[in-house]
Amino acid sequence: MAEPLLIVEKVDVYYGAVQALRGVSLQVHEGEVVTLIGCNGAGKTTTLNTICGLLRPRLGRVLYQGNDISRRPAHELVRQGLVMAPEGRGIFPNLTVAENMDLGAFTRSDKAGIAADLERGYALFPRLRERINQKAGTLSGGEQQMLAIARALMARPRLLLLDEPSLGLAPLLVKTIFETIDRINGEGVSILLVEQNANAALKHSRRAYVLQSGEICQEGSSEALRDDPAVRAAYLGGQ
């Protein structure tokens, strides 16, 4: 197999004196969807923030496309296709839908490409097109999530980090979001997905890691993890 697109190598992350990640290692290969599951407070968001450059590991390193990026600022990584749709969606409520989409393409200057991607984004989520001049803060939760994903795609990601994209959404919308994740992946974007909705996430990914109290406690194929009794008991409601 080729060199993985992303390698997180024995990473320790602290908030002040409090350690949030202990020796976390994971990999994402080109074209994969990889899921990271874990309880509230396990360190999932911390892991994603460390990968995308918002946090610095005290020990260990992060390799993206073969380069050590653990000391690179987040805004530079976006240019290299490492893009995150953050927890809580991270949209700009006082800006319109169109302005949010434009900001997604902030690092790009290829006008024709941007226009084509805008079209593609609105085709993916027609509801956004209807609300193009509306302030993003007035959108429903589901629409905000659509905007967060569509906006992330505007940066032409090679690796997309999604932090709990289905959080707080109605079941039908959750289905739409996961179908969209499949589609985006089908277009060649590698995805690292963080979810509390472990059942759906494991169905839509190839491999998965389980994070517990800042440590990876299990990893394997998503299918195998779904059948694992311990995982079922802890993350799939014991069904």
Binding site: P86, N94, L103
Partner: protein, 308 residues
């Protein structure tokens, strides 16, 4: 009641308020991104006047010691002096941010505030050391004229002040609302991290914010200097207070708020001055206290985390 005089005061108030607005917008933009009151801003305004004064003095556009007549500065040179002063103040604003505020970015809100007061004092007393304490006569950038409309006098300087302020505030609004960098500024004022995730260089955007505010303050300084026409190293004290009140009145963080607040304050002061010039100065304080009591977020301000 003398309505002509009252009207006269109001038109003067609009000119005064336009200057407040030009300075207030710098307070409001910096507050919008950093939640910091940049006390040194009013001293950058003072520097703006001096940065236009010096080259004019060096080139001999001021009365000499022997009482030679002051010369008018040619229009092209005026433009050059104004742009030069804007650029110099932009550099000073960027330097203040880089040297004084950025190192304290993660030290809570009190430390940068105290530092801001320190930088302000440094510029005021440093200014007195370098420029001397005595007021200086500002060169004649435009020959004073005045037009009479139904008994109300319109000084050409007042007209220049209002038009310049309106054009600059309009340009700033267009920039913030309709350009990539303007969108970046609004994104940063909402959330540093979310802006970073868009690929926005937050530090560069903050630097740009200081440069914009400082260059508008420079123009404010020059306009007031033209109108007075004397300048002193402490001229920022009064303007700082008024512009800050204007920003709070309009809603700190809001650019249209700064414009509205400046105009309201300028006109109220001038209207009160119709009855009493003594009390007109107190108006700023009364308005500040009133606004803080009734509507702490200001007229156009939102209490939400949404600024600029």
């Amino acid at each position: 009641m003398d309505f002509t005089q009252l009207l006269q005061n109001m038109t003067n108030g609009v000119a005064k308020g336009s200057c407040y607005a030009l300075v207030a917008v710098g307070y409001t933009m910096v507050y919008g991104v950093l939640q910091l009151i940049n006390f040194a801003h009013s001293d950058v305004y003072m520097l703006g006047a001096y940065f236009a004064y010096w080259p004019a003095k060096w080139m001999g556009y001021l009365p000499d010691e022997k009482g030679g007549r002051a010369q008018d500065v040619p229009l092209a040179l005026v433009g050059l002096f104004v742009v030069g002063s804007m650029a110099a103040c932009a550099a000073v604003g960027a330097l203040i941010e880089r040297a004084a505020y950025r190192p304290l970015r993660h030290s809570g809100r009190l430390a940068p505030l105290i530092t801001a007061i320190g930088v302000s004092l440094l510029l005021e007393y440093g200014g007195q050391m370098v420029f001397g304490t005595e007021p200086r006569l500002f060169p004649t950038f435009v020959e004073a004229q005045s037009y009479d409309v139904a008994g109300v006098k319109f000084a050409n300087t007042s007209i220049i002040i209002v038009v310049t302020a309106a054009v600059l505030m309009g340009a700033l609004t267009l920039f913030v609302n309709h350009t990539r960098q303007g969108r970046a500024l609004r994104a940063v004022s909402h959330s540093f991290n979310n802006a970073r995730l868009m690929g926005i260089n937050v530090n560069a955007t903050i630097t740009m914010t200081f440069m914009l505010g400082s260059s508008l303050a420079a123009v404010g300084g020059i306009l007031v200097a033209m109108d007075q026409p004397t300048i002193t190293p402490l001229m920022g004290l009064r303007m700082g207070l008024k512009a800050f009140v204007a920003a709070v009145l309009g809603g700190i963080g809001s650019i249209p708020g700064a414009a509205l607040g400046g105009l309201l304050l300028g006109v109220s002061e001038s209207v009160v001055a119709y009855w009493s010039t003594t009390y007109s100065e107190a108006v700023a304080f009364l308005i500040l206290i009133g606004v803080l009591l009734v509507r702490p977020a200001g007229i156009l301000g939102s209490s939400a985390r949404e600024k600029v």
